[in-house]
């Protein structure tokens, strides 16, 4: 009796295993996101979105019958860990492509690994230097900082506000923004009259702002991610500074408006289109993707999807597009990614080429303003 049960179980197990063998093996995709640590505001929506999209693709039967398998690790925003985990993804998990990491610092650290092991990497961070100069195996979905800076400067130039004060956070995001703000100022005829920084965990920036108040600035540009910019917006209000305040795309989510409250009113910033998706004209090619992403994210996680999650959405969808064109190895994936043209995603419309692995144009950003606790598009 007992014997029969065991042999039955064996038979059942064998059947299950063979069934598995008949279906094509899933395509393994690695993901490195800073789900904890100081960059968790990037990593968490990115991981959530990547999981959500991969699940959805699999539920719909996979891509040409092949399912995707996402192996996701948390880097905690630490470059050392990111490198270790990239090695793990490639050597132990044998993934064909990697999505992430979330921050520019981590991405720069991981690039040598991906290049050496010849695995395509689609970074979700914004630093321009990730794909400039071009690296064979490295792509990115996050819009370049330079585009965001360009949007602000264009607006300032149009309004003849040429003296600006910049206040940037002293981490990778702020440093990259500061570099771009300085590099592009001459091109737009803009003069930086005051250049200050603040620490990511600082709780009061009135000292820097008092100094700025004493300068000839016609606009203040602050480059940082929550909560710093919200503190700055409040400090600006406290000091009674009337100079227009600009922020970066790092705070283009409802969270900033919630944190800064009244002080957020009138703040302008360049943003991915996701925060103003419903205000876009129907002719906008991204509108369909944007609305789908927002609805899905709301259903899954009960909060608003932001453009950080969008970077992961774009990355998974770009991989999907590459697989649809018949890629199941790392090198074919890379070649197919390079052939993608006019893919309307969350961050913008992607057109990769052998010369451009960032793939986005100036239209990826719109300038938005906070009015009545919501975003409006600045024309």
């Amino acid at each position: 009796m007992n014997c029969r049960v065991i042999s039955f179980l064996f038979a059942a197990a064998a059947l299950l295993l063979s069934a598995d063998v008949f279906a094509a093996a899933p395509i393994k995709i690695g993901a490195l996101f800073a789900v904890t640590g100081p960059a968790a505001f990037l990593g968490e929506p990115e991981r959530n979105t990547a999981k959500m999209v991969v699940d959805e693709i699999n539920r719909a039967g996979g891509i040409k019958g092949r399912k995707l398998e996402l192996v996701s690790y948390d880097t905690a925003g630490d470059a050392t860990k990111a490198v270790q985990l990239a090695t793990k993804l490639i050597k132990d998990d044998k993934v064909v492509a990697i999505i992430g990491p979330s921050t520019t610092g981590e991405t720069m650290a991981v690039i040598p690994v991906a290049e050496k092991e010849q695995v395509p990497l689609i970074s979700c961070s914004a630093g321009s230097k990730i794909t400039d100069p071009l690296k064979k195996w490295i792509f990115k979905t996050a819009q370049n900082d330079s585009l965001a800076v360009g949007r602000i400067y264009e607006y300032l130039q149009k309004n003849r506000q040429t003296n600006v004060a910049i206040l940037t956070v002293s981490d990778g995001f702020g440093a990259s923004g500061r570099e771009q703000l300085k590099a592009q100022s001459a091109k737009f005829g803009i003069k930086i009259v005051s250049d200050d920084t603040y620490g990511p965990k600082d709780t009061d920036m009135t000292a820097q702002l008092t100094k700025i108040r004493g300068s000839q600035a016609q606009a203040i540009i602050c480059w940082g991610t929550n909560p710093g910019p919200a503190v700055i917006a409040k400090n600006v209000r406290q000091l009674g500074i009337k100079t227009p305040l600009f922020m970066s795309h790092g705070v283009s989510s409802k969270k900033f408006i919630e944190l800064a409250g009244e002080a957020a009113e009138g703040v302008k910033l360049p943003s991915g289109k996701v925060v103003v998706a419903d205000l876009l004209p129907g002719s906008d090619p991204q509108k369909k993707s944007l609305l789908a992403f927002i609805k899905d994210y709301q259903n899954h996680y009960k909060t608003e999807g932001d453009h950080f999650g969008g970077h992961a959405w774009d990355a998974v969808m770009l991989i999907k597009a590459a697989v649809e064109k018949g890629a199941d190895s790392s090198s074919a994936m890379r070649d197919n990614l390079e052939k993608i043209r006019g893919f309307a995603g969350i961050g913008g419309t992607f057109s990769y080429s052998a010369k451009d692995h960032a793939g986005l144009g100036k239209d990826a950003f719109v300038l938005v303003e906070v009015r009545n606790k919501d975003w409006v598009i600045v024309k």
Binding site: T203, D204, A207, T210, K211, K234, L239, G240, K255, L259
Partner: protein, 293 residues
């Protein structure tokens, strides 16, 4: 250099410094009663802010009720910390105690991350946020709250430590635990008290600062570090010296950011602190005491 700018730097520095001072006093109270540098002190600051948020949002309490509620829960957390982590220690060498409080702070931060998530949260100010002009400078009503509450707490501290039996007993423990035990003071209870008082103090600091700076599961690290510095400048006293230490640190940072370089402001503050220590190795206010051999 205009006078109103200088005034603004000083006022901003004082209000930030008052928070450092409150946290620093928490460090000192525990250090004096037990010889422990409690690296988990910053986490109680975080707990204060986040618990207030929960009382407001989940329990729908009004602000005046939410604050004592949050302080009470933090105090219980401090009590549990002492009972579960500090007291059972078999070899309470100073360095083991440091590691255990580091472990505790990681644990508390991790729990807070699970409970409240990784987002930053804001708390409404106690009484509006219309700026108040003082000379050419402006401050917010919340800044006045911070300064006032700090003053009240220092006064209560003074009364407690110098005019109540339990406070005097705690001071006796600070001087000599063995002798205190011999004259009938329950040293273990005093240690427990010290943890409760400083977790309550930390929570208060976290609550009064949250409307200005927002709060999140990881705010305790930086604030704890600054509070620790304030306590050391003050020579680990639980009184006015630590307050001066905190205010000094706050003002140095603010002046450094405004007058010299915002990027190096923390470095400037620390360089000055190092110089002070090099010239006066026994602390800013300490008397050079003879070492027991």
């Amino acid at each position: 250099m205009q006078f109103d700018q200088l005034l603004q730097y000083t006022l901003s520095g004082l209000s930030t410094g008052a928070i450092y001072a409150l946290i620093g006093i928490g460090f000192s109270i525990i250090y004096n009663a037990t010889g422990i540098i409690n690296f988990a002190q910053g986490e109680f600051v975080m707990l204060g802010g986040l618990l207030t948020l929960s009382c407001l949002d989940l329990l729908k309490l009004p602000l005046w009720a939410a604050i004592p509620c949050a302080v009470a829960v933090s105090t219980v957390a401090g009590l549990l910390f002492e009972r579960l982590a500090i007291r059972p220690l078999r070899q309470p060498t100073p360095i083991n105690l440091v590691i255990i409080t580091i472990g505790g702070s990681i644990l508390i931060r991790g729990l807070a991350m699970l409970i409240w998530g990784k987002d930053t949260h804001s708390i409404p100010p106690f009484s509006g946020d219309e700026p108040i002009a003082i000379g050419g400078a402006t401050i917010l009503p919340q800044h006045l709250w911070i300064l006032a509450i700090t003053l009240v707490i220092i006064a209560i501290n003074k009364i407690y430590f110098y005019h109540t039996i339990s406070g005097k007993a705690m001071r006796a423990c600070a001087y000599n635990r063995r002798a205190a035990g011999l004259v009938g003071i329950d040293v273990r209870r005093m240690v427990l008290f010290s943890f409760m008082i400083s977790s309550a103090l930390g929570a208060v600091a976290g609550i009064i600062v949250a409307p200005l700076t927002m709060t999140a599961y990881d705010v305790g690290v930086m604030l704890g570090l600054k509070g620790f510095c304030a306590a050391i400048i003050g020579g680990m006293s639980s009184g006015i010296a630590t307050v001066v230490g905190g205010l000094l640190l706050g003002v140095l940072e603010s002046l450094g950011a405004g007058l010299i370089s915002s990027g190096y402001k923390d470095a400037i503050a620390f360089i000055i602190l190092l110089l002070i220590l090099f010239i006066r190795p026994q602390g800013l206010f300490g008397k050079a005491d003879s070492e027991r051999v």
